[in-house]
């Protein structure tokens, strides 16, 4: 926390004009106001794109939507840590504030990255309950509130990618990663979801599967939704081992 009131906020942005051009740093300075978050700072720069040296520049671009840390889209690296820029408050950050795009995903421009590979992972692990149909079949299975609470924790994953950014094993989409494994746990815990358990387990048993986890436990610390990712990895690792040993028995 700063001990004296600031008059300005200094922000350094790691920029890139397009995927084919090099990255470079550009410095900005905007007037300080209390309760600024990073998004408000970026909006201020966007309104009047002049850098710290007083030169007109192109406005930096970024993704944003809910601004309540529930959509996951505005994730970037702020002072070295991947997090949502909507909930990053200037008053809690050391200056100059350094903004960088996430490094584990293709960089589109400035702070924008393409995280579509995370959604592809969800396809591979069949992250859904196979309904018979959407017509009315009455209520679902009864469930214990404790199980619901564990599922709810996994179900809050907003596919932001902080876990992959923090994971030392994840590089160049070589590993399916904690988010998809936690979704396997989410659906394998469900009384109807468990009926397609095998497909999900097989989705995390390939060369880029769960065994790539090096147990660094960075993911669980990086997760903004406090999802027990390491617990999911532990449980699913156990499940895949059993499935590998005994799966053939079930034909």
């Amino acid at each position: 926390m700063p001990s004296h009131p600031r008059k300005t906020v200094e922000i350094h942005i790691h920029r890139r004009a397009n995927p084919d051009s090099p990255q470079y740093w550009e410095q900005f300075e905007i007037p300080y106001r209390p309760n600024l978050n990073i998004i408000s700072c970026l909006m201020e720069i966007q309104k009047n794109p002049v850098n710290k040296a007083g030169e007109r520049t192109t406005p930096p671009v970024w993704h944003m939507n809910c601004l309540e840390q529930v959509c996951g889209i505005c994730t970037m690296i702020i002072n070295g840590r991947a997090r949502q820029s909507c909930s990053a408050l200037v008053d809690n950050l050391d200056q100059p504030i350094k903004l960088e795009p996430m490094s584990k995903f293709p960089n589109i421009r400035d702070l924008i990255v393409d995280r579509s590979q995370m959604f592809d992972h969800l396809k591979r692990v069949h992250a859904w309950v196979e309904l018979d149909g959407t017509y009315d079949l009455g209520p679902g299975p009864r469930m214990d509130q404790d199980d619901v609470q564990e599922r709810y924790a996994y179900s809050r994953c907003m596919t932001c990618g902080c876990c992959l950014e923090a994971c030392p094993q994840y590089e160049g989409d070589n590993y399916i990663g904690p988010q998809a494994i936690a979704q396997v746990r989410l659906f394998n815990m469900h009384p109807s979801g468990v009926m397609n358990r095998s497909e999900r387990l097989e989705g995390i048993m390939g060369d880029d599967g769960i065994t790539n986890c090096g147990n660094a436990q960075n993911c669980v610390k990086a997760c903004p939704m406090n999802i027990p990712l390491t617990r999911a990895i532990y449980e699913e690792n156990r499940e895949t081992v059993l499935h590998g040993l005994l799966g053939w028995l079930k034909g």
């Binding site: 993704h63 408050l89 995280r115 579509s116 309950v129 959407t134 009315d136 509130q145 609470q149 709810y152």
Partner: protein, 599 residues
């Protein structure tokens, strides 16, 4: 073969759009799904409190009729009653379907779905998944639609934005033009029917509880191409939001549903910390004035009371703030039932609402108005349907809490078969088919080229800010005709200045500037519809309140406002409201609701 090559385009991947996509794909037809953000990041994630359905598992004698009556009564009798009734009747099945999809709804001791209370009703009717129900419901549909995507039935166009419809010479919708938000490439997408499910227009008010994609831009484009816009003047201002620099963050009604109490110090200028103000020196103004419903009066009423208290200088420290107090509830209960929203408050304000009362103020939240649709979600443009917040159909003059999620899904579920039905029977384009797409594509390209080229001295973000401030100051909680008139003059001024904006970004790759410029033009058009609709309605009903006309006036204004676009501005007409099921009666939340007579 008509149905073989059938394709339906859906614009918007929130609850309504995904609900429709799922139904159409399940019926075996192809869907092109357009969304400006990956669909899992849609604004539906922000809905917190829950979803209504009269499942009656609490022994309270609840019924779908009671839900229907609460909805119509809460909406101050401006809603057409048949679709509102149909929604309430479908609501229990919708909740059960989500239950089967695996939504982690909170449970009772017997493992049944738990229900909580919400505003405008005396029943426990709201199913909930912690306090992030919208997120959980959206994810369930996202998962189901992903399954159909894997099967090849749904093709997603994420980071694509609809610019306009493609209409043929008979004003039949034949598809749309969308823009790739990275390359700015415009492309025509033929479709046999188009469903618009793009949500609300909160960004017209600058700061609101809405997400940044909620510009109403696609809806405005439809309006400018001939779609009717209904009841635009009915904008819900949520009583409890957390004011912020960039947005007003929602503090869910479920906080009051679980026992939260709204109060201010009884003595003006009392600067003591809230915990040192004794009970008898606190003014629980909602409980005192509305003993029957207390803190759970409908949103329009709670908002006006909070607004009034602050206007009288009774807000905390004389500011525009009142307390929303949960500190009397055990922290464990709060964590289980409201955890997600308490985290939001803690994260953005810094105080722990388990121990310190929250400070809140009303914020623009929801549009009851939207594209005019018939009872099958069809707009007046053949082949164009609408569902969700972007249509006007269910909520009348005020929406009840936890009715939005159910209305989105209901709208999607009705729009899907109606779109299939239309697409089956529509005449396919003949040889002249490509002409209409080329024409519209050219028109949209010209608009983009002009914006990119022009170099005036107006700043589009400044214009947006000015619009937001004028709309928030004059077209929200309390409305005066002279101020509405001057707001419209201001909007005309902004439209004129818009002609001189410069987009200020020489790098067009993935630029935010051109899309925003397109949004702004569309927002200004809709802002006029909202403002002039309010100016014309000389009564007070639901969220629309004029001190000069403080009473509801059924004789002159029990009617739906319809705006149609013309080059000179919106042209207004009215149509009667279908009140065939429940006779309108006076709303009075100080007493219990009177028995409803079925007519």
């Amino acid at each position: 073969m008509a149905s073989n090559g059938m394709k339906i385009a859906i614009v918007g991947g929130g609850l309504a759009g995904l609900a429709a996509a799922m139904k159409i794909a399940e019926a075996g037809h192809a869907v092109d799904l357009f969304s400006v953000v990956p669909v899992k990041r849609s604004h539906s994630v922000c809905a917190q409190g829950g979803i209504n359905g009269a499942v009656n598992t609490k022994g309270e004698g609840d019924s779908t009729w009671e839900h229907f009556d609460d909805t119509v009564y809460g909406g101050d009798f401006l809603a057409n009653q048949p679709p509102a009734k149909a929604m309430c009747e479908m609501a229990p099945a919708i909740i059960y379907l989500f239950d089967r999809m695996g939504v982690p709804f909170s449970r009772t001791n017997e493992g049944l779905l738990d229900f909580r209370r919400f505003g405008g009703t005396k029943h426990h009717r709201t199913a909930f998944a912690g306090a992030s129900t919208g997120q959980q419901l959206l994810y369930a549909l996202d998962e189901q639609v992903r399954r159909f995507e894997v099967e090849g039935k749904v093709k997603k166009y994420e980071h694509w934005e609809m610019m306009s419809l493609v209409l043929d010479d008979h004003q039949v919708c034949r598809g749309l033009i969308a823009m790739d938000l990275q390359t700015l490439e415009l492309k025509a997408f033929p479709a046999d029917a188009v469903i618009i499910a793009t949500g609300g227009p909160g960004l017209i008010f600058g700061k609101s509880t809405n997400s940044m994609v909620c510009t109403g831009s696609a809806v405005s484009a439809c309006y400018q191409q001939g779609a009717r816009y209904a009841n635009g003047e009915f904008i819900q201002v949520h009583p409890t939001s957390i004011p912020g620099e960039d947005k007003l963050r929602l503090m869910s009604e479920s906080a009051r549903g679980e026992g939260g109490r709204v109060w201010v110090p009884r003595n003006k200028g009392d600067v003591r910390s809230p915990s040192s103000i004794p009970e008898k020196e606190r003014l629980y103004f909602l409980e005192e004035k509305y003993p029957a419903y207390g803190n759970l009066v409908p949103r329009d009423i709670a908002t006006r009371e909070i607004f009034q208290v602050c206007l009288e200088g009774m807000g905390i420290g004389g500011q525009n703030q009142v307390y929303l107090d949960l500190t009397h509830i055990p922290a464990e209960t709060l964590d289980r039932k409201l955890g997600a929203i308490l985290e939001i408050y803690e994260m953005f304000v810094g105080d722990d609402p388990r121990h310190v009362p929250m400070r809140i103020f009303p914020g623009v939240h929801y549009s009851m108005g939207g594209l005019w649709v018939d009872f099958d979600q069809r707009t007046n443009i053949p082949g164009l349907l609408a569902a969700g917040e972007c249509d006007y159909s269910i909520h009348g003059a005020n929406r009840l809490g936890a009715n939005s999620l159910v209305s989105c899904v209901y709208g999607g579920f009705i729009a899907a078969p109606a779109a299939i039905e239309f697409a089956k029977n529509v005449q396919r384009n003949g040889a002249d088919g490509s002409r209409i797409y080329d024409q519209e594509l050219k028109l949209q390209q010209e608009i983009n080229d002009k914006l990119i080229k022009q170099s005036g001295n107006e700043n589009q973000y400044v214009l947006h800010q000015e619009m937001g401030k004028w709309m928030t100051d004059n077209v929200t909680v309390v409305r005066y005709n002279d101020r509405l008139k001057s707001t419209d003059d201001k909007l005309l001024e902004l439209m004129d200045r818009y002609k001189r904006i410069s987009i200020n970004d020489s790098n067009l790759w993935a630029t935010m500037a051109l899309p925003h410029a397109r949004h702004l033009a569309n927002m200004l058009e809709l802002a006029r519809v909202i403002t002039l609709g309010a100016l014309n309605r000389n009564e007070s009903r639901g969220a629309h309140f004029k001190p000069e006309f403080p009473e509801r006036d059924d004789e002159n204004f029990l009617k739906t406002t319809i705006a149609e676009y013309s080059g000179e501005g919106p042209v207004f007409s009215y149509e009667p409201v279908d009140i065939s099921l429940i006779k309108p009666r006076k709303r009075d939340y100080s007493k219990g609701k009177t028995e409803t007579a079925k007519v």
